[in-house]
């Protein structure tokens, strides 16, 4: 392999170079050695030359005695070179000095020649040795390592190094040839023997997901000739699911052609798993965050919406209260004597007020339906009676020459279960709407059973013909001038609040039997008229809020534009649907279909208040039996005479009827005698009589007492309860002045008053206890912040023959106890400034310790001097009975009352009986 591949070649070349370098090095060393030896020889020659020179000098000195001529010197030098070579090292020459023969004798020269000869010989010998050594070393050198050996050694070392590093590395190394067959593989944890792999391709070795991909990748690298990295997940039977990071690089031959690929693979399954987990986590976090923000947004929006709706409801409510006050007052005003112009103005005022009231009611209704607050009630009711009642009510206030009729199919059950109030509201709304837009002809309601679930498509119904006939029949009737009367609408929408209806729903609630097999019946209800109709283009927007058919209509007919929207929403709320069909100038038909449950036991139901009014209307209905009557008709002529059986000719009667649902037709003259009326004529007479006689006492009332009592305290109360006091002053100011002294009225007066009452009020006087001797009246303190409770309790105590002092909170109570002796304290628990429990604790602690320290600690100033209180500090001589008055609010319980030192408690509302029992128990 190393021979074939380019890289291998270069590697070999490198090794070769390295060897060559080493050889060169060796040669250089040898040469250096040679040089050294040469130098030595030169030195030796130099020495010899010196010796020779010395001798020549000696000879010269001997021969010429003169320093030689310089011209000849060079000649001489060259001449002497040759023989020099034959001479030996200077060391020997120095020996010449040691010749003990006489100088310049023949012996001397002979001896000297011999010595020099010896030296020369020695020198030659050494030279010989050196030469031999040189030869030897050259030979040695030649014998030293061959390049192959060196190479293999190096390779071995590299191999060891690689093995050392790769020992535990989770790496697979491999080389593949052009056909991607393994030529070499290194795998630390081999699952195959080398023989199983070498010469095979990936696909031949194992199979599974990822194998193809890796092969393709390698092929790609092979083709493109560029190295690449890739992560490949294998899913093989061999080693399961594992992810490898693979590095593949192409291998080129010397000609630059790819001959295969090197391949390094590393198992990164765990890392990938971790990475994926991280990614997933990050993703989850991101999703969660997104959800959170979304949720926050939703919550915010919901809260905002809720707040807005609540705000609307609150606002509407807030507007409604004062407005109803305005309207009521206007109506009261209408009962007074007014001239014609004033009455007209007042009428406008009232009708405008009514209109706004209705608008607000509608908004409230709508927001109730929309916010899902509106709850439906399931009550048993008789559809026939509902229809009749609605028509009857409409007829009562009808100011046009219209015939109102109701038609109920025979298959409509006598009794069904549904939310009668809402159904009535819808019917009333639709009927009043129909009346509003109909100037002649008739308005009617038709009920019949339809199969469930009804598709809601308007179909051709016999009524259409009927209507057409009716329209032609009544053609001759005069056109009524009243275009619009808001009070009419108001009355109808207020219908839900009429006492009669409430009564009905209530009684039905009570009578609700457990229904054993309720079945559902779908009843379709048409409200038709022969009115102006609705142009086709206006149909789609008709049920929308605040939408009216056109601005013209709005001007002409008024109304809020909410009625139909409410009807539709109510119908849908009850699980039905509403449609309409109309033809301009001919009339409209509003249809709604609703499911009702049918109760199996629907025979006796005689307590329906509607029936109470039957007597007055029997002669109007064409059918005599109300339970099964299928047709009602109210003719315009019969209106005034029979509809308003009690009709006062005055406006006031109408007002009541219109605005308070005090529906006149429902009040039967017979009823008064049948019902348990309290004021029998005789009683009334006596009462009236006494009324006259007692009118001089009219100033004396509870409010006066409170204000009077409070007046005493005004001076001392600057710092606390200012507002409360002012509230009471308000109450006090409603009565005329000059009553303050009443609080200090003489007992005789009181006694006389009592007697008065005893004689004049036989019916109620029975509850008045035996009046104690006026001189020794027990003193009672009432601690109560609620004005109304104060008034009620005060008057009850008065009826019981007691006068009481009233304070408004705990601190005032303590002050009162400090300054007066009371025989009994009635203490409210929940009060501002200081509650009843704390006040009781302080009073008790004072009774035990005999000092008012506790009260001072609580921040109550020293008691002021009172005119009727001789001592500044009044120490209660004994334990005052303190009776709690509770309404079971969160913060109060009977146990708490007892724990705080109260003796007993009276639950609210306070009644005469309760007070009487209490007084009997705690007053001597």
């Amino acid at each position: 392999m190393t021979v074939d591949s380019d890289k291998g070649g270069s590697q070999l070349a490198y090794l070769m170079k390295y060897w060559e370098y080493k050889q060169e090095n060796a040669a250089r060393l040898l040469r250096e050695e040679l040089d050294r030896l040469g130098k030595q020889r030169e030195e030796v020659e130099l020495k010899r030359l010196e010796i020779l020179e010395e001798h020549r000098f000696e000879e010269e000195r001997v021969g010429a005695d003169r320093y030689s001529v310089s011209v000849l010197e060079e000649l001489y030098d060259s001449y002497t070179i040759v023989p020099k070579k034959k001479r030996d090292s200077p060391v020997e020459s120095n020996k010449g000095l040691e010749i003990d023969a006489e100088y310049d004798t023949i012996v001397y020269w002979k001896q000297r020649a011999v010595i020099l000869e010896n030296l020369l010989k020695e020198s030659r010998q050494r030279e010989q040795i050196l030469l031999e050594k040189l030869d030897e070393s050259i030979k040695n050198m030649e014998q030293q390592s061959t390049p192959v050996e060196e190479l293999s050694q190096m390779l071995k070392r590299a191999d060891n190094f690689i093995h050392f590093i790769l020992q535990n590395a989770p790496i697979v190394l491999g080389h593949m040839d052009k056909e991607l067959r393994y030529r070499f593989i290194y795998n630390h944890y081999p699952s195959f023997k080398e023989e199983d792999i070498i010469g095979k391709t990936d696909t031949e070795i194992f199979s599974g997901a990822g194998v193809k991909e890796s092969l393709n990748f390698k092929r790609e690298v092979l083709e493109r000739g560029l190295p690449g990295k890739r992560e490949i997940t294998f899913e093989t039977e061999l080693f399961g699911s594992k992810t490898f990071l693979i590095y593949v690089e192409p291998v080129f031959n010397k000609a630059g052609e790819t001959i295969g690929v090197n391949y390094i693979g590393m198992d990164i399954t765990d890392q990938v798993r971790k990475r994926e987990k991280m990614a997933k986590l990050r993703e989850e976090i991101a999703v969660q965050k997104a959800m959170e923000t979304e949720m926050n947004k939703t919550i915010h929006i919901t809260e905002e919406t809720m707040r807005a709706k609540q705000m609307l409801a609150t606002m509407s409510h807030e507007i409604r209260s004062p407005l109803s006050g305005v309207v009521s007052m206007a109506e009261v005003l209408a009962t007074t004597r007014l001239d014609k112009e004033q009455r007209q103005l007042l009428d406008v005022m009232i009708s405008s007020g009514d209109l706004v009231l209705q608008l607000i009611n509608d908004i409230l209704d709508l927001s109730k339906v929309e916010s899902g607050v509106m709850r439906l009630e399931a009550t048993k009711f008789r559809p026939r009676e509902v229809v009749r009642h609605v028509l009857q009510t409409a007829a009562a206030s009808l100011k046009k020459m219209l015939t109102l009729e109701g038609y109920i199919a025979d298959d409509v059950p006598i009794e069904v279960i549904g939310d009668v109030l809402r159904i009535r509201q819808i019917l009333t709304n639709l009927v009043s709407n129909a009346i509003k837009f109909t100037h002649e002809g008739k308005v009617g309601i038709r009920l019949y059973v339809v199969p469930a679930p009804y598709s809601g498509e308007e179909d051709l119904h016999p009524v259409e013909r009927f209507e057409a006939n009716a329209a032609t029949d009544e053609k001759g009737d005069s056109d009524h001038p009243y275009g619009d009367d808001p009070s009419e609408a108001h009355k109808n929408s207020d219908e839900s609040g009429t006492p009669v209806k409430r009564g009905e729903s209530q009684s039905k609630d009570e009578d609700r039997h457990p229904i054993i097999f309720p079945t559902t019946v779908w009843i379709r209800c048409d409200v038709y008229d022969t009115g102006i109709g609705i142009p086709e283009h206006a149909l789609p927007t008709l049920f929308k809020k605040y939408m009216q058919a056109s601005a013209d209509h709005a001007r002409k007919y008024g109304g809020t534009g909410l009625g139909l929207a409410i009807c539709k929403q109510l119908v849908e709320l009850m699980g039905g649907h509403m449609t309409l069909s109309s033809k301009e100038h001919c009339g409209s038909t509003f249809t709604f279909v609703l499911p009702y449950r049918v109760s199996p036991e629907s025979d006796d139901q005689s307590d329906d208040p509607d029936e109470l009014s039957d007597a007055s209307t029997h002669h109007d209905a064409t059918a005599t039996d109300d339970h099964t009557a299928g047709f009602f008709q109210f003719q315009p002529r019969t209106l005034s005479s029979s509809m308003l059986s009690l009709s006062g000719e005055s406006r006031s009667q109408n007002i009541l009827q219109n605005n308070y649902g005090f529906s006149m037709p429902d009040i039967n003259p017979n009823l008064a005698s049948l019902s348990p009326t309290h004021a029998t004529p005789k009683e009334l007479e006596t009462e009236q009589g006494s009324h006259e006689s007692s009118s001089r006492n009219s100033g004396d009332n509870a409010a006066a007492e409170i204000s009077g009592r409070n007046d005493q305290y005004v001076g001392e109360e600057r710092n606390i309860g200012e507002n409360l006091r002012s509230l009471d002053m308000e109450a006090g100011s409603s009565v005329s002045g000059g009553q303050v002294e009443k609080t200090l009225h003489d007992p005789q007066d009181e006694h006389r008053m009592m007697q008065n009452r005893d004689t004049s009020l036989q019916s109620t006087a029975s509850s008045v206890p035996d009046v104690q001797t006026p001189e020794k009246k027990p003193k009672i303190l009432l601690v109560e912040d609620n004005k109304i409770n104060v008034v009620v309790t005060t008057s009850m105590m008065k009826q019981l023959g007691h006068r009481i002092d009233v304070v408004n909170n705990g601190i005032e109570a303590i002050r009162a106890v400090q300054n007066h002796t009371y025989d009994l304290v009635l203490m409210d628990v929940c009060m501002p400034v200081m509650d009843g429990l704390q006040a009781t604790r302080i009073i008790r602690s004072c009774e035990e310790s005999g000092s008012w320290d506790a009260a001072m600690e609580a921040g109550i100033d020293q008691p002021m001097r009172f005119q009727d209180s001789p001592v500044n500090f009044h120490y209660p001589p004994k334990r005052i009975p303190i009776i709690a008055m509770t309404a079971n609010a969160l913060s109060e319980s009977a146990d708490e009352c007892f724990e705080n030192g109260m003796d007993s408690f009276v639950s609210k509302p306070v009644t005469l009986l309760k007070l009487k029992e209490c007084l009997q128990q705690y007053l001597p």
């Binding site: 609540q310 609150t314 607050v373 009541l656 649902g661 009326t677 913060s891 009644t911």
Partner: protein
């Protein structure tokens, strides 16, 4: 006696009974009616007007409190308590009932429930107001005609 007065008196009595029969008012209302006597001829109208005048403020303050970001249930409870006290004193049972539910919601700190209860309370009061105002007008008419306002027996 004037037949119209008798008629109105009958109507008044019947209306008063109907209030109780419908569960709008309770026995306490009869007692309150009975507290009106010669020494207190305007008792009923005064106490009812005072009630009708006070309640809207309280109901409004409830609404304001409910709309706070952090509803103070203790304060709410106190206001409801106040309403309860007044309503039970005049016998407005339907307001009282709504208030009881309201108190329960307060106890559980159920804001949603509180909103519903507020609505019920306010509706109940609206109904009571409507009825009582009608009654008061009737009473006024009877008085104006020189009649005496009838009272329930047995209280």
């Amino acid at each position: 006696m004037n037949s119209r007065v008798v008629e109105m008196q009958n109507k008044y009595a019947e209306y008063a009974i109907s209030l109780i029969a419908q569960g709008i008012m309770d026995d306490q209302f009869n007692r309150v009616q009975n507290m009106q006597d010669n020494s207190n001829p305007n008792f009923l109208s005064e106490i009812l007007s005072s009630y009708l005048g006070d309640m809207p403020k309280l109901i409004h303050s409830l609404a304001l409190d409910l709309q706070q970001q952090y509803v103070d249930f203790v304060k709410l409870d106190k206001t409801i308590h106040n309403i309860k006290g007044s309503s039970s004193s005049i016998g407005a049972i339907c307001v009282l009932n709504a208030c009881n539910a309201f108190v329960a919601c307060c106890k559980e700190q159920d804001i949603e429930g509180c909103f519903k209860c507020w609505e019920q309370t306010s509706n109940a009061f609206a109904l009571v107001k409507l009825k009582l105002e009608a009654l008061l007008i009737l009473e006024q008419q009877i008085r104006a005609a020189g009649g005496i306002v009838p009272k329930p027996v047995g209280y």
